[in-house]
Symmetry: C2
């Protein structure tokens, strides 16, 4: 293995298909990036035949299953491919880890091994969704945290701003919107109102480019570069979008395969439909960042194919190459007085609703 400037650690066993898709994706990644190296982590038998350039194999004796409870991943499977891959980041062997393993386990193991950054209570999951302007909207949190406080949302905004300014160099001061509900009876609950105040203060202090409340439709309109929300809400929004996109694709397919005439129309329209399909292909948006940890970890969708997994590798590569971690830390340090202010705010306003 030659020394190289940038190394990713890949959990080759995670996801619905494991090495069958992760290995081809890794191979293609190496071809695309002559400056990058990989550490492939997995069961010995799965990686026995690997003899690639710029590649090191690290074996693990266990695999975290998609339905393993967090406790199992954390306490019992201490030699899982997921954990060993993240350990490479902790030990400085790799600049980022990528896994398609189950989100709950990944977040728990990553948090346990890497710890959170100074000033961040809760790591968040951030992903990009396409918008009608032709760009992407970064949404967080997507399910790492339910019952968020206003302060958590402020932290998400700071971390999301760092992520976007790193991944898209044109956006040095990416805009942040707070996901809220619109014209309805009561505009947002108390936590959201308080979050709005904190974000506004951060905007005035120059820590954020806060543009105010946005609604669900603004995610795909591209009204803000970053949309922050509680993990429960973000997860529902993401999954609902996935469900709707699938339904629309299915309806389009059904209409074009209805009879001979429509099938003929499909042939004529094929290039257009292919271009359309490529444009809304969710695989291109695969690769969510686990933000707020002392190390970079990216999560691929469990059902990802090689193309999709490749995009997750690209995201990790871009983040590592642009020193995302340093940028997040710098942003947090800059916003530290405000984050402290958030902590000092009236307890009731920013405290999560928890069951006594």
């Amino acid at each position: 293995m030659t020394t190289s400037s940038l190394t990713l650690a890949v959990d080759c066993m995670g996801g619905d298909f494991g090495p069958e898709i992760t290995l081809p994706a890794c191979r293609q990644f190496l071809e695309r990036h002559p400056d990058a190296s990989l550490i492939l982590v997995g069961l010995p038998e799965a990686l026995a035949k690997i003899d690639w350039p710029r590649t090191r194999v690290v074996t693990a004796s266990e695999v975290v299953a998609s339905d393993d409870p967090v406790e199992v991943a954390l306490r019992r499977k201490r030699d899982s491919s997921m954990r060993v891959a993240i350990a490479q980041v902790k030990d400085g062997q790799a600049q980022a880890a990528v896994s398609a393993g189950n989100t709950g386990a990944l977040m728990a193991v990553a948090r346990y091994l890497l710890k959170t950054l100074e000033g961040i209570d809760r790591p968040a999951i951030a992903t990009q969704l396409p918008n009608v302007r032709g760009g992407a909207t970064t949404v967080l949190d997507l399910g790492a945290n339910v019952d968020c406080t206003a302060l958590h949302l402020l932290q998400f905004a700071v971390m999301g701003s760092a992520l976007v300014s790193v991944l898209d160099e044109r956006r040095t001061a990416p805009s942040v919107g707070l996901l809220n509900i619109g014209e309805e009876v009561i505009k947002g609950n108390e936590m959201i109102k308080r979050a709005g105040e904190l974000l506004r203060a951060a905007g005035e202090a120059g820590d954020l480019n806060f543009i105010g409340n946005v609604e669900g439709n603004d995610i795909f309109k591209g009204t803000a570069d970053i949309v922050v929300c509680d993990g429960f809400v973000g997860n529902v929004a993401l999954k609902t979008s996935e469900g709707l996109a699938s339904m629309i694709a299915e309806f389009l397919k059904q209409e074009f395969s209805r009879n001979l005439g429509t099938k003929l129309a499909a042939v004529v329209a094929y290039p257009v439909l292919a271009a359309f399909k490529k444009r809304v292909d969710h695989r291109r948006y695969n690769g969510a960042a686990l933000l707020g940890l002392r190390g970079l970890v990216f999560k691929s969708h469990g059902s990802a194919d090689a193309l999709a997994f490749g995009f997750a590798l690209e995201r990790a590569y871009d983040a590592a190459r642009h020193h995302l971690l340093d940028r997040v830390e710098a942003r947090i340090a800059h916003a530290a007085p405000l984050l402290a202010l958030g902590v000092a705010a009236p307890a009731g306003a920013s405290t999560a609703p928890t069951n006594p």
Copy 2:
């Protein structure tokens, strides 16, 4: 005006376009339903020329604007077309009211005039969304309530079941799913967990056909006939879906108008695209029910055109014709012991997080 078995009161002034779209929709509605009558409510000048069969004009001197705060609609504009239309229901002149006016004002005025049903703390907004099975999924609440308790979600489930069993006669025991998040770190917050327990108990008592947790994508999969959620979450899911659908439509249009070749393909594919468009046409799903009041009120999207407003009228007509109000009341009465149980549960578990 001939006496008729069923009368709807229509706020002709509400929505972005007012009488321009509500009046043609009303006219077409009357033609479709020879057994129905309408009470048209609006400014005298807007309704001056109306001389239709089975139609009575009731004038109002004010209009609730789309950006009027709830307080203005409730306390200042006491002779608004919205309020006068709902008053027709209260006075027994009409079996249901329909308005495209602003949701917050409509809910507040309806609640003030009609009061909530015995056993219901909070009215909810319910709408139908298409699913891939070719049916519709009823989702509530969509924004009338933020910071819901577990008991509220149980009430929504009971009301939603009544609505679906009324609107779709084939579904006598419609299935209910609780909107939750899936594999992620923490499965739902405490309120959702408690709601799950209450819904399970209701299922065991025969009051509901509860099938357990569902995720955002299940709305469009049609996993459950009814999906219950907090109004904040429901509103975000709905608006996000609207945003995504608009983006996809825009992308499809862009691809087909890219150049001469793609425009030609569009001509060939036109019948298929038209069929597809019709199938995903959100106007067909217009008309949300305000449930939990002592009278039927339906809300049309503010941006509805005549076709969409017509669908809202149809929903109100179907609900009135099938005695939705009685059915909701009967269901609530049946579930009363359980609803009382919910109230008696440990306070912390079902209490909304509010700012002290």
